[in-house]
Symmetry: C2
Subunit: 214 residues, 2 copies
Amino acid sequence: MRLAELSERSGVPLATIKYYLREGLLAPGRRISATTAEYDEGHLRRLRLVRALIQVGRVPVATAREVLGHVDDDSLGRTIRLGAALWALPQVPEPDEEDENVRAAQHEVDQLLRTLDWTTAQNLSSISPAHRSLVVAVATLRRLGYAWDAELMAPYAQLMHQAAVRDLDFVETHPSEAEKVETAVAAAILFEPVLRALHRLAQEEESARRYGIE
Amino acid sequence: MRLAELSERSGVPLATIKYYLREGLLAPGRRISATTAEYDEGHLRRLRLVRALIQVGRVPVATAREVLGHVDDDSLGRTIRLGAALWALPQVPEPDEEDENVRAAQHEVDQLLRTLDWTTAQNLSSISPAHRSLVVAVATLRRLGYAWDAELMAPYAQLMHQAAVRDLDFVETHPSEAEKVETAVAAAILFEPVLRALHRLAQEEESARRYGIE
């Protein structure tokens, strides 16, 4: 398809697409004459992901370029490729290890991962941003006086593991490796608001079932 | 306990506690002389919730006062009392019903609630902010070209329902009605970052199990 059709099908204005091309967020089309280039479904898919990163994830352009660089690096195995792409997204800062609440949170998270037997999460604990986010979130709770611990978190972690199994099953329905990694990154950014809203709705529903709505 | 001890045990500076007292976010202590008042565990608990709302939830003071007003309104049944408190929190704006993606999202969410047989969520669909958040999140996905539908969301909704059952079981471990409602509001604000981090960690773990970490 030509640039005009790419714009129409994606809903992204021409000027924005040209900006993404200049910034290297979108690969150039296949040149078919001095003035025209041809774009394919891969461009359309990539354009969706770029918008998801920039418009919904509010990721800076330089960061988006780094994320996409990992998505495109087929020298990596899938776990590392996906991990590298997700880890390039903006993350929570390192917590202060001198803080007693941070140390208590680290202890509870370590305990949780041992209980669950999540060996990769244990091995990657010093470098994974997801691990760091969890420690920071638990430390915040503890600082506010809510002593949520490994025992309380374990059943939630198991539910989230079931969600992760579905995530990867869904990712695997996509034919090409590029689509699989792109879908996984898009899902990581876009699906959180859906899960959060589903959780709130489920709380309303369960509360009504237990206590009525009088 | 005296004000100084309340400050020490909560970690909230004296000046901040006095500000919360002036703003009516914290009830006055029981006066025991012209210059001193006595505070109890209820004050400590409320202080935690106020900090969770303002510091973590970034809720404006006037909104926090409204939320707490509902928490304290024991003329309401628990579902409505909790609902009113959560609904007073800042919410996503009304979506544009003329937008085809919003209409498609509404259709999928309606379909989802029927499939799940969530009757309260269906009855409250025109007023619930959780319902509105879900429609907005699904419309955003559709606008970006990710056509996630009722069928794809249903298993996630069921997992979130299991999480909601645990949430309410946890809330019910608290003895008084006031503590139950306070805990539910604090959890709604504070537990989302924990769930999100658990989800990301579970994705790393599951990806490593399926594809290794080479």
